[in-house]
Amino acid sequence: MSVAAIGNYSVALRDTAEHFAQPLLYVGWDEHMMFAAPLTVPLSMATRFEDLVSKVLPALYGQHPEFAQINWNKVQWFRSADMFTPRMQGTLAEQGFGHKSVLRFRTPGLEGIHGSCG
């Protein structure tokens, strides 16, 4: 649908990448809603995946009692809704991530506090 307006309607996008010091990555740990919503993380897309796993995620989710139990070899990764297998040496940009991308991960066998997805 086109814009219904009384005059010229100009659009100024406020959230394009150039407005931020670093691009945004949205990160969500499925079935762990102690972190009620996915998180907004300013992060260089040149970050290597292994650094994301070893440095960024622990800072975000380390206080969850199940975080220490994650078997990182079994984690399932999603770029938005698409499952993919990350190359740990590769950067986020090389693996299709950009400003305002969603990264979700699933940890089979771990279903949150007492299995409540909390």
Binding site: V3, H19, Y26, A36, P38, G118
Partner: protein
Amino acid sequence: MDQRVEKKKHSLKERYAAMTGDLHWETTYQSMDEVFPYEQYEGIRIHQWDKFEDPFRLTMDAYWKLQGEKEKKLYAVIDAFAQNSGQFGVSDARYVNALKLFIQSFTQQTYYAHRSFAHLGRHFRGDALRVACQMQSADELRHFQNQTHAIANFNKYFNGLHNATHWFDHAWYLAAPKSFSEDAFSAGPFERLIAISFSFDYLLTKPLFVSTMSGAAHNGDLSSVTVGFSAQSDEARHMTLGLECVKFIVGQDPANLPIVQRWMDKWFWRGYRVMTLAAMMQDYMQPKRTTSWKQAWEMYVESTGEALFKELAQVGIRQPKGWAQACDGKDHISHQAWNAFYGYGDTTAFHTWVPEPSELDWLSKKYPDSFDRWYRPRLEHYAQLQKSGQRYTNKTLPMLCQTCQLPMFFTEPSGPRWIAYRETQHAGERFHFCSDHCEEIFSNEPEKYSQAGLPVHQILQGHCFKPEVNAAAPGFDPASAVLDYCQINQGYDNGEFKGSEDDTNFASWGGGQNPQEAQL
């Protein structure tokens, strides 16, 4: 002898016609289109404005008299409540947090409604609708003032009440109600009427007002109860206006129906998302519990809505698209919201807490299909952490929905195991949503919603610091600087309730008892 001529008394209808009829005339110096510049562009066609009848036919003198009497009664109660130190007689200081969230969100929306209806009262071509809108504008201003005056007494004793208008404009969590109101305000006059009068006033405000007022009564806040009662007859008038307007607009031209239906789909969902705050207020912030959100929803929305949409089917209107999903959400949204606000409790101008075990039991009983399975374990985990001195807080900013601007804490309609993610591309950018309906609202008007100033993004762009702040200084604490910018007094307005100044003060005043006993 001359016979005296009896003065004929006008009937109410004649009186109304005499008092309002001359408010309308066809202009000649300027074209009518220029006098009413906003009436055409939304695509709504009205052929016979004189067919719209104000369902109440209130004249201004009758209106002022009626409202004046209500004011006198209301302020007698508000004064008496203050003089008897009623604030110490509420069930528990936690209750005041419901008032905080109320004045920070819904009271501010009431003021927007006042402004919005003042504008509508100028810009419809039909005089009867203009008069009705002007009265609603005056009502909304009255309600805003009444709520503010009643809560002002609490402000002398509790934190988190002193700066509601500023918080409404600046605090991240109030972007949901604020964006709702501004979204409506920046729409055309017909859409705004459907948004506020029908979708919000008619469909959704009942659980908010009726239940929060009965909650106030059970928690000893007679002042707020009376504010509610005083507004009730006005609310009934607003609801009727909303319904009459829908029928009138749809009846005027077949082309109006699809436009009105789309607005209904949109505004029901926008309003429903704002109601998430009311849901958590009801289930978590009223220490003495009466009705659950689920019960209120079933009583005041679901059952009345079913009947309403049967009636509206005659003019071709169907239930809003999100109706079924909204009804399914009654088992979940209050818990999901409280879980989110508990985690982000450091950043709000009200307190959060884990309910007491007996209160958790109440929730288990009221929500047999969801609470024990999904929500109770989280809360018990937080309680345990707190016992060991580690009150849980979530330190990372949440991802927000581009449309409703709430954090993306809502789960898939198919079940509460997965957070719902929706995504679309527009103008080369990615946009994210909490639900199909928020995505659809965006996709119908991407130009409008792609410009949203999402608070989390504004914070990360550095727009939410005071001008004198030096973000490069060593030891700079961005979270604290943002709270400063919002004028939230850290350690007083925000964070955990247990051990807060509100908590300790209330205990030392002997609060929660009969106020006379407390003074002895």
